[in-house]
Symmetry: C2
Subunit: 764 residues, 2 copies
Amino acid sequence: MHNLFEIDEWKIYERSFDSSKQVMAESIFSIGNGAFGQRANFEETYSGETMQGNYIGGVYYPDKTRVGWWKNGYPEYFAKVLNSCNWIGIDLEIDGEKVDVHKAKVKSFYRELDMKEGVLTRSLKLQLSSSKEIELVSKRFCSMQNDHIGAISYSVTPLNFSANVKFEVYLDCNVTNHDSNYGEIFWKEEDKKVDEREGLLSCRTKISDFVVSTAMRYSFWKDHSKLVIHPNTIEREMYVSNTFEYFLEKGTCYTIKKYVSIVSSLNHKEFALSAKAILYVSEAYKKGFNVLLKEHINAWKDIWNQADILIEGDVRSQQAIRFNIFQLFQSYTGKNSKLNIGPKGFTGEKYGGATYWDTEAFCMPFYLKTADSNVAKQLLLYRYNQLDKAIENAEKLGFSEGAALFPMVTMNGEECHNEWEITFEEIHRNGAIAFAIYNYLRHTNDEDYLRVYGKSVLVAISRFWFQRFNWSEEKGAYVMLGVTGPNEYENNVNNNWYTNYIAKWCIQYTLDIEKNSTFGPSLITEKEKEEWEKLLEQVYLPQITNSNIFLQQDGFLDKKNQEVKDIPESEKPINQHWSWDRILRSIFIKQADVLQGIYMFEEHFTPEQIKENFDYYEPKTVHESSLSPCVHAIIASKLGYVDKAYELFQRTARLDLDDYNKEVKEGLHITSMAGTWLSIVEGFGGLRISESDLSFAPKLPKEWKSLMYKIRYKGLIIQVFCGKNDIQIQHNGSIDLKFLLYGKEMILKADDKLIVKLDSLVKK
Amino acid sequence: MHNLFEIDEWKIYERSFDSSKQVMAESIFSIGNGAFGQRANFEETYSGETMQGNYIGGVYYPDKTRVGWWKNGYPEYFAKVLNSCNWIGIDLEIDGEKVDVHKAKVKSFYRELDMKEGVLTRSLKLQLSSSKEIELVSKRFCSMQNDHIGAISYSVTPLNFSANVKFEVYLDCNVTNHDSNYGEIFWKEEDKKVDEREGLLSCRTKISDFVVSTAMRYSFWKDHSKLVIHPNTIEREMYVSNTFEYFLEKGTCYTIKKYVSIVSSLNHKEFALSAKAILYVSEAYKKGFNVLLKEHINAWKDIWNQADILIEGDVRSQQAIRFNIFQLFQSYTGKNSKLNIGPKGFTGEKYGGATYWDTEAFCMPFYLKTADSNVAKQLLLYRYNQLDKAIENAEKLGFSEGAALFPMVTMNGEECHNEWEITFEEIHRNGAIAFAIYNYLRHTNDEDYLRVYGKSVLVAISRFWFQRFNWSEEKGAYVMLGVTGPNEYENNVNNNWYTNYIAKWCIQYTLDIEKNSTFGPSLITEKEKEEWEKLLEQVYLPQITNSNIFLQQDGFLDKKNQEVKDIPESEKPINQHWSWDRILRSIFIKQADVLQGIYMFEEHFTPEQIKENFDYYEPKTVHESSLSPCVHAIIASKLGYVDKAYELFQRTARLDLDDYNKEVKEGLHITSMAGTWLSIVEGFGGLRISESDLSFAPKLPKEWKSLMYKIRYKGLIIQVFCGKNDIQIQHNGSIDLKFLLYGKEMILKADDKLIVKLDSLVKK
C-alpha cells in the first residue's frame, strides 16, 4: 500500500504541497482534545478543494427532513454533527492580493502532526502573483490540559520585499454542512462583541438550541517584541474580526498569537456563557502561548506514559499504532460524562450522532486496558443512565414489560438515526452492551457495579431478546427474523448467526447472574426464568450441514459463489463502485460477522471450528468496515497465520494513513482505532482476559524486533515486553500475579520482573 | 365504515363545520385540472389546523439532504412535490377583526364538491366577536377547458350590520412543505408587479430552476353591478396584494370575482412567462366568471360522457365511483406529454415524484378503456422517451449491454427516490411497464407501436431480468435475490414469487415478439436467445410443497402464523401503530403480491390455484396499500365471493371518502382510483380482454339493481348494462363484434343492441 504521508515513529508529515491530497490531509492532521476538535484547515483563505470542519462535543442539529417515506416508529430526527464556528481564521492581504496557497506558487511546504506533543505545524514559502515571496509558519493545538482552549502561533516573514500587509483575525460562524440541502445554515447569532485585539461570537443552533460561545484574543509580535496595534473592528452577521495594516520589513518575522476559548451550553448555563468564554480566553492570553503549550505537552506525556505501545524494527507500524492511540485520546478523554466516542470523532461530519456499539465492542476494551477503570465505568454508566430511554425506545417498537433496545446512534439516549435496516434491525448492539458489562467484570471484578447498575441493564436487554425471537413451525426452533448483523452488507436477514448467538449468550448470562445471590435479589419472575430456559434449548443457529461452518444467515448459500480476489481492482472498494442492491445480493462481507462472534466468545469454540470459519469467511470479506480487519487480525494471530495477521493489522492500523477504503477525505475512523490497539495486544501480544484467567501467547510478525505494551488488569498495571528471544512481564502491584504464558501457569511476584526465554517454552 | 361526508350520487358535501375534519376535507374536496390543482383550503385566513397545498404539474425541488448514510448508486436527489403560490387568498377584516372560521362562531356551514360540474362551493354564516354576522359564499374551479386558469367567486353579505369592510386580495408564495426542515423555503422571487385590481408574481424554484408565473385580476360587485374601487397596492417578498375598504350595506351581497392564470417554464419559455400569465388572465377576465364556468362544465360533460359508470340501488357506491373517476381526470387528462400521474395528484405532497409503476399497472388499463387510445399511447411513449435514462440507470447499478431499469419514481426519467429497498429493489416496476405494452396491444392491436417503440423497451427490460437472476447451486435453479415485491411490507427478500414470475413472463414474451417477423428484425443476439431460453427452463418459483400455493418469498413459512382478524382494532392500520421492523417480520401483507400476479396472468392458472391462493393470502392481507383491495375485489368476484368482493370494493372505492387507512389528511390516493374502476368493470362487470377474446361475466352484488359501464376496445365504444334480469350490450362500430358472455360465444351486429335474459344462461 502506498503511503500518503511520510513515515516517522512520532510524526505524520509531508514535505511538499499536493492540492489533490489537501482534503485527505485535513482529516489525517486533525487535532482535538476530547471536548472539541477540528480538521487541519488552513488559517488563511484557501480557495482550493477543502472540507471545513470544527466540531464541538455533544452539539448537534436534529435534522427532520425525511427523504424517504415515513415509517412508523422512526426517530424524530437525525442528529447531524455540526460544523461550527471557524476560530482559526487569519487572513493576509498583500498589495490587494489575498494570500491563498491554492493561487500562489508554493516554493516549499512542510506540514507536521507531532503526536508526542499534539501539535500541528505548517511552514511554507509562497510566491505571490506580484512576485513577492513570503514565509508562513503556523503552529496550533487544542489544549489537552485546558479543554476549552485553542491556540495558534502564526508567523509571516517577507522574504524579498518590505511592504504594508493587511491582517484580518476573525471568528466566523457562517458555516455549512456537506450532507444537507444547498448551503442550509444551522446557526443563528446570539451575541457578539468585538474590540481591539479581541472578539466574541455566541451562536445558537437552530431547533436544538445549543449555544456555543467562542472568544478570541490575540497579540502581534515582531520577532520577540510585542507590537502596539490599533486595528479596525468589523461585525457582520455571525462574524467578528479585527483588521490592521502593518509595514513588514524584509527578512523579519511577524507573529500573531491567537487564543481562543470555546464553551457550550452543554456544560455551562447559557446566562454566563459569553462571560465564561471571555474569562477563559483572558486567562489563556495571560498565560501565553508557550506556557499553554507546555501544559498541553505535559498532558500528552501522561497519556503516552500509560497508553503507548513500542514496536521495534517497523517504523510504519510504530507510527500507525501511535496515530491510532493519539486520535482516540483526541476524541475521548473520559473527562465529561455527557460525551461519548463518535465514529469520526472531531474529524468529519459523516454518520451523525456520537454513540454507537463501537463504544462497547471496540473502545471499551481499549479504555479498560489503557486508562483508570473509572473511564470504562463512566462509559457503562452512560448507558445505564439512558436505560429508561432504551425501554421507551423498545416500547415504541412494540416491546413490553421493561424490554430495552438501546439506540443504534444517539446523542442523549434517544435514537437519532433513521435508516430502518440500521435503527430497527441492527439490534446486535444490545448484545455488545451486555457483553461490555461482562467484559468490565472480567477486567475489574467490580461486583458492586453489576449489582447496582449492570444487572438491571442485562435483564432489560434479555427481555428484549426473548421477545424478539419467534417460534418457527417450519424449523421447529426459535428464529430471529428481520435483522441486520454487524456485516451491514446484508440487511433485513433472517437468523443472522451472530445476533442469534449473542442473544442466546446474553439470556444465559443474565440467568447466571440472576441465580447468583451475590448480585442481589432477582429482577425477573419465575415464569420468565422458565420461558427463557425453554427458549435457550431451541435457539436456531444456522450452520452448513456436516461442517463446522456457521452460516451467516438463512439463504446465504443461494448467492453466487465468489471470493474477494475475483473482484477487479478497479471495482474496489465495492461500496464506491457497486450499487447497494448489488452489494447486498453478493456474497461479499463488509465486516467480521460470524468471526466477530467467534472473537468475542473464543473459548466456546474448538480450534477446528475457529479455523474452518476463518478459512471460509476471510476470503469473502472485503473489510470495508473499519471495524473488520482488527477482528480478523486477532483470529489470524491466534491461528498462527502470522503473515495474514500482519497484512490485516496493516489494514486496520494504517486504514486512514494509507486510505485503504478511499474515504479518508470524509474524516478518520476513530472507533476502529481501538480495534487496531486490540489487534496488537490481543493479536500479536496474545493477551486474553477470561473470567478465570489472564493469559499471554505472543506471536510477533517477522517484521518486528520487539513489542512492548502495558495493560490495566484488576487494579494492576502490567507491562509486557515481547522480544524475539524472550518475554518480560512486570507489574506495579503488591500482590503475586498468576497468569498463563503460552498455556503454562506462571506466578509473578510483586515488584518482580519475569523474564522467560522463548526457547525454554514449547509454544502451543 | 363511517361516512366522513354526506352521500349523494354527484356530490360530496357537508352541512356543518367540524374543525377536526378540516384537514381531511381539504384533501377530499380538492380540485384540479390535470395541469395544476389544490387542496380545498379556505380563501380567507384560517388559523385552525390546515395543510395548505397548491401544486403545479411537473414542478419539483431536488432535495439532496441525505438523512441516512450514503449508498453508492443512490439518486442525486429526492423530487419533492412543491407547495406553490397560494392564489386563492382573499382576506376580510371587519372592525379590525380578521374573518377566520376558526375564531368566529359558525352559525351555519355548507361545503360541496359538485363532481358533475367540477365546482367547489362553500356557504356559511359567521358571528364575529363584535356580534356582527356575515354570510360568505365562495365558488371556485380550476378550468378543465383552459388548464392555465382558475376562478373564484367570493361573496360577503353583512347580515345584521352595515359597516366598512376591508378586503385584501393577494398572491403569496411564502409557502413551505411539510416534510422538510423547519420552514425551509424552496422558492425565490423572480418578478412581481401589482396595480389596481391586478397583480403578478413570478417565482423560481431553488436549484431546479422552474419559474412559475401567477397573475390575478379581480372585480368587485354589489349584487349584479360592478363597483368602481381604487385599492391600495402592497408588495412584499414573494407577495402582491390589493387592499380596499368598502362600506357594505346590511343584507346586500358583495362579490369579488378573482381570476388567476398559472403558467410555468415546464411548458413555456421563461422570457415570455410573465407576459403570458398577464395575457391569459386578461382573457379570462374578459370572458367573465360565468362563461369560464360554462366552458368548464362542458369539458366535464365530455369526460363524464365517456367515462361515467352508473350504479342503481346503491348511492354510496355511485358516489364513490364518480369520486374516483373525477379525481383521476382532475389529476391527468392526457393533454401534456410531459406529465404523468402522481400518487397524490394535486392533493398532497407525500411520496414525491410524479411517475410510479401505478401508471402502468393501474392507470393504463383505466385510460385504455375510458379515453382515446392516444392517451394510453402517450403514457407508453413517456417511458419509451426515457429508455436511454433507464439504460443509464441500470448501468449505474452494474448492468450492461443495454439492460434497462426504469425508475421507481421519476419526474423526467431520472430516478428520484432514495430508499434503497424501493429504488434499487422494487424492480417489479420493469415488469409492469412490459405488461403495459402487452396490455396496450390487447386493447388496440397497434402493432406499429410495438414495432417502432415497444419492442426496444421489451428487449432492454428482458436484458435486465436476465442479468438480475443468478444461479443457485443450493437450489439448482435461477434465483433472484434481494428484491422488494409490490407488497412493501417485505423488503430485500429472496425469490419474491411475483417478481420472479413477471420476469420470466417478460423474457418469454420478448422472445415471442422476437420470433415474430411481423414486429421487425431481431434486436437480440443468438447467444442471448439461447441463454434466455435456458434460463426460462430453470427459474425458481417458490411454492408450498404439495399445495397449489405459491410462496410469497423464501422464508415466508418461518413467520408467526396469524391472520388480520387477530390484530386488535386499536392497532390498525398497522403502519400507524407498529414499527417498521415488526411489520416486516410479521406475516401481514400490505398489498396483493402473489394475487397481483394471479390477477395479471389469470389465464395461466387453474380455478383451483386461484381459489387456494386467494383463500391463503386474503386473510393475511391488511390492504394498507391503496393498490391492494381492488385486485382482491376482482379475484373475489371471479371466484364468486360476491360479498367479499363488495366489501373489498367499498374499501377501494371509499378508501379516501371514508378514510379507511387513516391518512386522507395527507392527500388522496389518486392512482388506486383507477383500480377502483377496474374492480367494477373487471370485478362485478366481469370484463376480460385477453389476446384472443373479449368476454363478460357480470356478477352484481346484491346491493345493486344494475350497473352500466362503457369501454373502448379496438376502436369501438362498447356499452354494457348489467341488470338483475338481463345483460344489454351495444357498441358504436360498423363491424360485428364477437365476444364471450359467461363463456358463451356471442356476436353483436353493428348498431345493434344485444339483450340477454339472465335466466336463459347457465352462469359459470
